[in-house]
Symmetry: C2
Subunit: 202 residues, 2 copies
């Protein structure tokens, strides 16, 4: 399906993002950027950057790192942050932290904010961001413990301590947003750009 | 996770729906209804029924058939129809029909309309419907042929001749609606009812 020109690189270690690109029929390789995300996030938060700008800055930093190694490639980089009432929540370090985080999110609204960009020869040639609005239901602590026991360590791989494709669905009341953006990759916007840019066939 | 009371049965042969329920951590078994969907759909269309009513009537008919075999169980039944400018499109019979259908959908807006219900002892105790709005991009015929070659017979398993989890994503410009509804099962609404009903733990 991707009989256009140019090598495509996904600057991400996320298996979900790779699965989406693969599902769409694209040929690409994956190179994870070795970025100190926490440090960059802290700097941006100190400057009161809006969540879209934080997600984009993280995506761009990852994309540029990988582009330095593959200057001729079209490097796709993405980031997703969890925005709760003006605060960015980071991936929980362990199950106890995940439990605390889910108790904070319980019964409340939060956003998942995506930043996505394409970098070529060190230059950001395209950027895109969007949001998904989610509301958790007011689950019991007994439910939460059963959820954590069922989901196990997988909750640590997600920024919010949940995977919607798994038992995490049971935590939610409503989810509003683009199908692909929920999964951390605004795929339709990306495909649109890649076609315009001649990377994939239209 | 589903330590509530009562046996849960999914009246559907769709592997996607089963995967969503399984992902959410529910215990259930699957019994496909042996319904002449085309005949019922024709009757409903003759009476100018709106798409929500058609999808619900099909879901309810399937749910009642399976409930007759398992009266004590909570039977979940679902249907999804493709609504294009006042017309219901059926699953394509072969690749040539899928090609024709995709050419009709090209560059246009259509809706996927879900009907979902729960049947117990032959009675519909809950019903829910929603819509997802999709717009296909104006792809070339060369692209379409490459798509059909890549996707193969899998396009025949979907009402619109596409699977968004696969190369079908490349056919679209926008997709607006609930994450789970796109996949043919409004999961959050269903989980909400199952909790209220005591079928699963809350």
């Amino acid at each position: 399906m991707s009989d256009g020109s140019g090598e495509l690189v996904l600057a991400s270690a996320s298996s979900t993002r790779a699965a989406l690109l693969q599902g769409a029929g694209l040929d690409f390789c994956t190179i994870a950027a070795d970025l100190d995300e926490a440090a960059l996030r802290r700097t941006l938060l100190k400057h009161n950057a809006p969540p879209e700008e934080i997600a984009l800055a993280l995506a761009e930093a990852k994309g540029k790192m990988v582009s330095a190694r593959r200057p001729e490639a079209a490097v796709v980089a993405a980031d997703q942050i969890l925005w709760l009432a003006g605060e960015v929540l980071a991936k929980p370090a362990d199950l106890a932290a995940a439990r605390q985080q889910l108790l904070r999110l319980r019964g409340r609204h939060h956003d998942l904010v995506n930043g996505l960009c394409l970098v070529r020869d060190g230059q950001v040639v395209w950027r895109h961001s969007d949001r998904v609005a989610l509301t958790m239901r007011n689950f019991s602590e007994a439910f939460l413990d059963a959820y954590l026991a069922a989901a196990g360590e997988t909750v640590l791989s997600s920024v919010g301590g949940y995977r919607l494709e798994g038992p995490g669905a049971q935590l939610f009341k409503t989810i509003e947003g683009d199908y692909f953006s929920v999964l951390g990759l605004p795929l339709l916007a990306l495909l649109d750009f890649l076609r315009d840019d001649g990377v994939i066939a239209s």
